[in-house]
């Protein structure tokens, strides 16, 4: 550690906004959602101006919301700092996904780190199906089984007509039957692109991230019950740190609270074809998907992305 390193660390630790993060040498962006959406926009599939030509899987990924985390029982919960969080909300429709994207390009290849404080919820419902075996016992609440999954991902393309790939890590809270799984997963196939779809190379996607819904594997040591906190209206914020290396085309680490997962040996699927017009593409994506006819929500208090360039 040099004196400059010590000074930089002291400055970060003395700043209440930054001291809860562990940034790499250069902070690429810091998004406090009390100040707006900071470029996190709804993803939409490619089209020619005719929105009927957007593939169904990418036609309704929902706009961002600035949420005060307000609930019917207590009113406003608020975020970690200030009032607002970035909110993604699905429809109340099984398998519906909401996704937001932030679009940049990279200056140099290297390590990129995404950090956030997040929380997740299913919408409060007031009557459950009689065949729903989950029962409220004063501690466990069936609403926890209404939350499907959340995924963090990127989109990287290395140059004009360059190699392209997506890293994607999913927290699978429940399976399609509503049974708690609570594991982190990585994907094993490339995402079906509009180009692949139109060329007839891949069938219509059922899961946005992969070609077949089963193309996911468990991250070793990735079992992690999170803090749902019993009811749909109590939110507890979780620390998440995800890093990937655009030189090795690999995820490097995922840390969620005290669980640190080494991802360096996990392969990342790469497209067989190259892509035009995406030179130095560096996109960040977050999404939430419901498995039931219940709205699912993902909230981010703030985001910090840093690099080693």
């Amino acid at each position: 550690m040099t004196i400059a390193d010590d000074l930089r660390l002291a400055l970060i630790q003395a700043d209440p906004r930054l001291s809860k993060f562990n940034p790499l040498p250069r902070i690429l962006f810091y998004d406090d959602f009390d100040e707006g959406v900071h470029g996190w926009a709804e993803l939409i599939g490619n089209h020619d101006g005719n929105l009927d030509n957007v593939r169904p899987i990418m036609a309704d990924l929902r706009p961002p919301q600035l949420s005060s985390c307000t609930f019917f029982d207590i009113g406003t919960h608020g975020s970690v700092h200030g009032t607002y969080a970035l909110k993604l909300a699905t429809r109340a429709k099984a398998n519906h996904m909401a996704q937001l994207i932030k679009r940049l390009t990279f200056v140099r290849q290297g390590l990129v780190q995404f950090e956030t404080y997040f929380t997740y919820k299913a919408e409060q419902i007031f009557s459950r199906a009689k065949d729903d075996a989950a029962v409220w016992d004063g501690n466990f609440d069936p609403s926890e089984t209404d939350f499907g999954d959340l995924t963090i991902s990127n989109d990287v393309c290395e140059g004009h007509e360059g190699t392209r790939y997506h890293c994607a890590l999913r927290y699978l809270n429940t399976d399609e039957h509503g049974k708690l799984v609570q594991k982190w997963l990585y994907k094993t196939s490339v995402q079906t692109s509009t180009k692949m779809h139109r060329a007839g190379i891949a069938p219509p996607a059922m899961d946005y991230h992969v070609q077949h819904p089963d193309d996911w594997r468990e991250v070793p040591g990735g079992f992690q019950p999170l803090c749902y906190n019993e009811v749909p209206t109590k939110v507890n914020w979780h620390y998440l740190r995800w890093s990937f290396d655009t030189q090795t085309r690999r995820n490097t680490e995922l840390q969620v609270n005290d669980l640190v997962m080494d991802l360096r040996d996990i392969p990342v699927p790469v497209y067989e074809v190259t892509y035009k017009g995406l030179s130095h593409l560096l996109n960040f994506c977050i999404d939430v998907r419901t498995h039931r006819n219940v709205r699912n929500f993902l909230y981010l208090d703030s985001v910090l992305v840093s690099v080693d360039w």
């Binding site: 929105l51 706009p63 961002p64 600035l66 609930f71 009032t83 909300a89």
Partner: protein, 111 residues
């Protein structure tokens, strides 16, 4: 500088019966304006009637109280709201024989 945010809440969707748009949190905004772009209208005597609705929590809703917006054919329609609390949506009614409306609905917020 004030914040502004436009959300497209329905995109090329065809309604042929009563509906409500998804709940949208707008507690940070002072003013809101709905834009409804009717792309196609079909059916004898087709009429689309839209009521702005408000909610304290995104679960329980009432009409905001301003005059409903009526559309009978393609075009851009709009209505403005203030003092609306935290959540917004539109409640829609489709009238007419075999009537349907294909729409894009956007919500523009400032605050």
């Amino acid at each position: 500088m004030r914040q502004s945010l436009t959300a497209v809440v329905e995109r090329n969707v065809t309604f042929d019966a009563a509906f409500a748009t998804e709940p949208y949190e707008a507690g940070w905004a002072d003013e809101a304006r709905w834009f409804i772009r009717v792309l196609e209208a079909a059916g004898e005597g087709a009429e689309l009637v839209l009521h702005p609705q408000i909610s304290p929590d995104g679960l329980f809703w009432c009409d905001e109280g301003s005059a409903p917006l009526a559309a009978h054919g393609p075009g851009l329609y709009s209505c403005a709201l203030r003092d609306f609390g935290a959540w917004l949506r539109l409640r829609g009614e489709v009238h007419g024989e075999a009537a349907s409306f294909k729409v894009v609905i956007a919500l523009a917020l400032k605050g």
